[in-house]
């Protein structure tokens, strides 16, 4: 008779407990926030690390997402004689949904995992203890810059994703299929609102960046200080980030429409 209880425990109670712990961790980290010159430098250093680490994968994936998205929509739309609207569909689906969501998931896989592993290993090699013993708060010194770096880096990556995906779309529609470039860009311009569509995507990016960084530092921080524990923590970062991003994306989209 323990099976159903065990099942509900694993499926419901444990994730809720974990969420509570992650929330408390975040509150503690925020309560210790301090801003200074030293801190600003560290935040920028982290933005550089997580941003540049993710750049190559964002550029490559962006281009191919734009390419394949245009391929599929161009094919369908021309059947209904609406081939000219391909740029509208491309831009709106990219700016509003695809770019922020895919960027966040790729960011989790590339930068999130390395943040988790870094903090987990710092814990395993007593570096966090050493900071504590030097009267330097590891939450302030290690966690806070990484948390804020995600908020700054992901919107920038979303913008880059958008640009390269559009290039992929232009490459397919204009250069391969011979669409008129003036119609392509003109239709896009008239149907896309800079603030709502493009800006909304960047805002989503900031939220996702925060979400992924939070999960990454939390799982690193709470990892068991063994190689097995760190490996598990990095996996948890990717899986939980992907689920959380898709879930929050639905909520955000519902409010933004």
């Amino acid at each position: 008779m323990t099976a159903p209880k065990d099942f509900s425990n694993r499926l419901l109670a444990e994730p809720i407990r974990e969420f509570g712990r992650a929330g408390l961790f975040l509150l503690t980290a925020f309560s210790r926030m301090r801003f200074g010159i030293l801190q600003l430098g560290e935040i920028l250093r982290q933005v550089y690390f997580v941003g540049v680490r993710s750049l190559v994968i964002i550029v490559i994936c962006g281009f191919f997402v734009g390419l394949v998205l245009t391929l599929q929509t161009y094919d369908t739309l021309t059947r209904f004689g609406a081939g000219d609207s391909v740029s509208t569909v491309l831009a709106l689906s990219l700016f509003r949904e695809l770019a922020p969501v895919l960027t966040a998931i790729l960011f989790a896989g590339r930068a999130g995992t390395s943040v988790t592993a870094e903090i987990g290993l710092m814990k395993a090699t007593e570096q966090l203890d050493a900071l504590d013993l030097m009267a330097i708060d590891p939450l302030e010194r290690i966690v806070q810059p990484r948390l804020l770096a995600g908020v700054l880096a992901v919107p920038a990556l979303v913008a880059i994703f958008n640009v390269t995906a559009l290039l992929g779309g232009v490459f397919f529609a204009v250069y391969l299929m011979g669409s008129d470039p003036i119609t392509f860009w003109g239709n896009m311009q008239s149907s896309v609102e800079l603030g709502k569509d493009f800006g909304g995507g960047l805002l989503k990016g900031a939220v996702f960046g925060f979400l992924v960084s939070w999960l990454a530092v939390y799982f690193g921080w709470s990892a068991k200080p063994t190689s097995e524990g760190v490996a598990l923590a990095t996996t948890q970062t990717v899986i939980t980030s992907a689920i959380a991003v898709l879930l929050i994306d639905f909520v955000l989209s519902a409010f933004m429409l």
Binding site: T125, A130, L133, M134, A135
Partner: protein, 272 residues
């Protein structure tokens, strides 16, 4: 420690009891560590040596008893007060625990940059002097991964004394060192203590090395102080647990076998 007036004790643990779950790690342990001397804390693995160190730094709080460093009661400190205490205590963790993304220079400079407003030129001089003391000024620009384990620990020593603390705690500073590095570490601990006039506590189980650097030593076993005194006194001791530890006997008051039910019972259980 025998016959030390309270005023001269830099660190005092009084009747400290500490439980971890069902296990009592320390049982009414009282210990006085004299100021300005090097004290070795010895004992078999898992006897609570590192726990004593964590009590002194305030990382752990005792369930009962008091922990004093100088005139400060550590077990009641919180937040900023605890930070203040820690600035005055240098700690060398088991593997050095250097920050792998910083050079040796930046590792030693970190506490200075974080806790003082000294100009960068002065910090540079201080750091180079600390590194000179441990013989690694030439490695200032290198990263910890480029140095051997023994060198890493020497850089960590320089970092531990960066803020000129009154107390330095060493957690197993000799574990896994080759004879040359070991000799260097032993001499450094002695020299740093003499030159800076500080109080050193060395946690170790390296019995052979203790007389070379320690003024006093104590043996922790079974959650309490089994014996304490100068190294010579301990060597002359007839206490069974001291004999076992000093002579490295595999069985004795500290048993060879982990507690278990009788062997015959375990073997017969397989047949059943």
């Amino acid at each position: 420690m025998p016959d030390i007036p309270a005023a001269e004790a830099a660190i005092r643990l009084q009747g400290v009891t500490l439980k971890r779950g069902p296990r009592t790690v320390l049982r009414e342990l009282s210990l006085e560590i004299p100021a300005g001397k090097v004290t070795a804390v010895m004992g078999p693995s898992g006897c609570g040596k590192t726990t004593v160190l964590k009590l002194i730094t305030g990382q752990l709080r005792p369930d009962l008893g008091e922990v004093w460093v100088g005139d400060t009661r550590v077990d009641q400190l919180r937040g900023a007060e605890l930070s203040g205490l820690r600035r005055n205590i240098g700690v060398l963790l088991q593997n050095g625990a250097l920050f792998t993304d910083l050079t040796c220079f930046d590792n030693v400079a970190l506490p200075l940059r974080e806790h003082t407003r000294l100009p960068e030129a002065l910090i540079r001089r201080l750091v180079l002097l600390k590194l000179q003391t441990v013989g690694l000024r030439g490695a200032a620009a290198m990263y910890p991964r480029e140095l051997s384990g023994g060198m890493n620990r020497r850089v960590a020593m320089a970092r531990a004394m960066a803020l000129d603390p009154a107390v330095i705690l060493y957690d197993e500073p000799f574990a896994g060192l080759d004879p040359i590095s070991l000799g260097a570490s032993v001499r450094l601990i002695r020299e740093i203590n003499r030159a800076l006039g500080l109080t050193s506590v060395v946690i170790t189980h390296d019995v052979a090395e203790v007389p070379k650097f320690a003024d006093y030593c104590c043996i922790i076993a079974d959650g309490g102080i089994a014996a304490a005194g100068t190294p010579a006194e301990l060597r002359a001791s007839h206490l069974e647990v001291v004999r076992q530890f000093v002579e490295g006997l595999p069985d004795g008051p500290v048993p060879f076998h982990f507690p278990a039910r009788p062997l015959a019972e375990d073997l017969l259980a397989l047949d059943a």
